[in-house]
Structures are given as structure tokens and as C-alpha cells.
Amino acid sequence: MHGPDQQHEHEHSTLSPLELRVRALETVLTQKGYVDPAALDALIDAYQTKIGPRNGAQVVARAWCDAGFRRWLLEDATAAIGSLGFSGRQGEHMVAVENTPRQHNLVVCTLCSCYPWPILGLPPTWYKSAPYRARAVKDPRGVLRDFGVQLAETVRIRVWDSTAEVRYLVVPQRPAGTGHLAAGELAKLVTRDSMIGTGLPLEPGGATTDASP
């Protein structure tokens, strides 16, 4: 039989040192009145359920089927993206860069992990990790190979290192054979990686996808 103390002990013994350290920190900050745990829950919920790459996919799909919106996006991305309801933290100053048959764009932050949160959510682990940050600027074709992307030698690669507070959205090329699709269907083809430049959009009717529903 376990008393409450032993249960408490057991719970702690299964937690990692990091888990315990973060819990201790949260406890201190809460006791001091610096943070409200309900606000922490709300912050986490926002990035788990509301703010993610499906937002960016809507922006790209709209640009694919609305020439006026596409021009606006390329001229003033912050305003165009804001018109769809996406704005704010880590997306205050947006620039959209468009892939063409001759140029492929790739976004990195070599100094930390700057990333357009309102439209792509939290950055993936690889985006924040040394291999990507080190190699994207020096060997972008090699990085693309790590993602299974092989571009023709004639396609120039433009790497955007996000060293200030400007955040970049890659507008991938619209896949062929999608003329009949509406924006909602097109958005499903727009992967997170295609908006960073480490991937390409899915083909219509394509089999496997790395995009969440």
C-alpha cells in the first residue's frame, strides 16, 4: 500500500532531471506571481492548435489562385497575410519570396531560430539544429538532398538568412495539373517544408504526405 508521500516520491523518481528543473522553475515563478499557469496553458494551446503551418498554406493557396492577392503578398506580405487574420509575434515584418522555374528560395536563421510563427507555428527541431544552420548557407544543395529534393542544375538557389526581425515566407510554385482545384484543396498540397524551401508542394492525388490534416 502506498501513502501519499510514497506516491509523490514515485512520481518524482520517474521524472527526468530536466522535467524536475522546469517544474521547480515554474513553481517559483508562480509563487512569486510572475506567471499564471493558466496563461502558460493558453500559450501552449495556441501553438498546438491555432498557430501552425496550415495558416501559411492558406496564404500560399490564396496567392496561387488570386493574382491580385499574389501581387499584394509579394509587395507587402505583412498586410496581405494580416488580411487573412495572421499577424503578430515573430511575424511582425513579413517578406514573401516566390519560387520560379529559375530560382528556388531557402530560409534559415544561422544565429538562432528566427521563424515566421504566425503562419508556420513553432520551428521544427531540424530548423533550430546545428546541421541545418551551419550548412544551409554554404551547401544548400546538399541540405536539399537531405530532404530528398533534387533541383535541376539550372535552378539558382537563394538563401535568406533571417538575421534581423524580418521573417520570410517561401511561396512555392503551384504544382502542374491543379487548375481545377479550389483554394481549400490547394492548401492541402502546401507543406510546411515547401514554405521554408526545404521541400516542394505535394502533387495532386499524391500518395504519402508529411502534412498534418
Binding site: L18, E19, R21, V22, A24, L25, L29, K32, G33, Y34, V35, A39, L40, D41, L43, I44, A46, Y47, I51, P53, G88, R89, Q90, G91, E92, H93, T110, L111, C112, S113, P118, P124, T125, W126, S129, A130, P131, R133, A134, R135, V137, K138, D139, P140, R141, G142, V143, D146, F147, T154, R156, R158, V159, D161, A164, E165, V166, R192, D193, S212
Partner: protein, 220 residues
């Protein structure tokens, strides 16, 4: 004391292959979202600014050995200690043992959506005309300053072309040091790969740009 960033990774060899991950994979341990949220909530208190928090993270001695959210944890601990908001023994024991800083009020759950949607824009009124315009050649500063800066090592002392002018932005170098915003013109400067990596570099048909504040640049 010399300033050293351990986060300036661009162009370094030997880090291996990138490990792609599926789109929905955000966290790998239960404490990761908590430290993310603690960081965001404390950032909203105004005890430090984003540039000071980047400086705290990039100067962690064990930066290279830490996972990303470990960097956020250790960075937050440093910021709390430096600002006097929490003592080391309080962190170790997991309980408050001294009075809280008086002026802080915690972010509330009902303020979160508006806080995130508002963000913290960094464009400011310019104090003078921009020195450079698109198409102009510039050379970046060669020497690294003894403080937080946002010109990566691989782009130091390099010749590039002004491509875009982004307006005047809060100057990270000053802001991180508590010297105020000191807005400066911000430019996208684009470099050819041979300028950055030399003639023997991998020929990837690529160009690279950084966003550079005016004090980083000289005419070339």
C-alpha cells in the same frame, strides 16, 4: 572580458546531415512546451527585451551541447538571475524565499491571444535618410564587436549588394545591451557564394543574403 557567441553556426563544417521531421512533431518531452510558455510569459513582463534574451542564450558556455529547449531553459535561468527576479537557491529548491520584484504583473490567460496577435514590431521612425539604396555595393564590417550583434561571422568583411531597404528598425546591438532602441536603417544584402566561401567552395549556383543594419556596412 571578450564577448563570445556560441550560436553563430553559419558555414561551419562537421555538423552532419539534417534530420527531417514530420510536420506535426512539435515537442519531444513534456517539459519542452512548459519552458517555451514560461519564456513567452516572462518575456511579456518586460524585465528584458528579445535581444537581451538572445544574448543570454548565445553566450551560454555549454550552448553546443544543449538541445534547443535546454538552451531556452538555461537562458531563462540566466535572465532571471541577472534581473534579480529569482535567486539561484530558489531555483534549486523550487520555492520562493524572497519577496517578488514589486512591479511585475503576470500575463493572464485572457490576454494571451491579443499578446500574440500584436507581437512587437521593430520598425521605428528614421532619424535621417537611408545611406544606401538597392543596387549599391557595400562591404560588411570585418571585426566582431565585443557585444551581441547580428552580423554572422561568415558574412564579415564581405562585399555584397543592397537588395532591399526595410526601413529603420530597433538596433539589436544597442537594444541587447540596455542602451535603448537606437533605430538604424535595415537592408537585405546579397552575397555571391564565391565571395563568402572562396573559389573552392561547393558550386551550388547559390547566393546568400543577410539582413544588416546600416552600422554594419561601408560603401564598396
Amino acid at each position: 572580458m571578450s564577448y563570445r557567441s556560441n550560436a553563430d553556426l553559419g558555414g561551419q563544417d562537421g555538423h552532419g546531415a539534417v534530420q527531417p521531421e514530420p510536420e506535426g512533431e512539435l515537442f519531444h518531452a513534456a517539459w519542452e512546451p512548459r519552458i517555451l510558455a514560461l519564456h513567452l510569459a516572462m518575456g511579456a513582463n518586460g524585465l528584458w527585451n528579445i535581444d537581451a534574451s538572445r544574448a543570454a542564450r548565445e553566450t551560454l558556455a555549454d550552448y553546443r551541447e544543449l538541445s534547443y529547449y535546454q538552451i531556452w531553459l538555461e537562458g531563462l535561468e540566466q535572465l532571471l538571475l541577472q534581473s534579480g527576479a529569482v535567486r539561484a537557491d530558489e531555483m534549486a529548491e523550487g520555492r520562493s524565499m524572497q519577496a517578488a520584484l514589486p512591479t511585475l504583473s503576470a500575463l493572464r490567460a485572457d490576454q494571451v491571444a491579443a499578446l500574440l496577435a500584436r507581437g512587437a514590431p521593430t520598425v521605428r521612425p528614421a532619424r535621417g535618410p537611408a545611406r544606401y539604396s538597392p543596387g549599391q555595393w557595400v562591404r560588411t564590417a570585418a571585426a566582431a564587436p565585443e557585444h551581441h550583434t547580428r552580423l554572422p561571422g561568415y558574412a564579415r568583411g564581405k562585399r555584397g549588394m543592397i537588395e532591399r531597404v526595410h526601413g529603420a528598425h530597433v538596433f539589436a546591438d544597442a537594444h541587447a545591451r540596455g542602451l535603448g532602441e537606437q533605430p538604424q536603417w535595415l537592408y537585405t544584402v546579397v552575397f555571391d557564394e564565391t565571395e563568402l566561401w572562396g573559389a573552392n567552395a561547393p558550386r551550388g549556383q547559390s547566393t546568400v543574403s543577410v539582413d544588416a543594419w546600416e552600422p554594419y556596412l561601408e560603401p564598396a
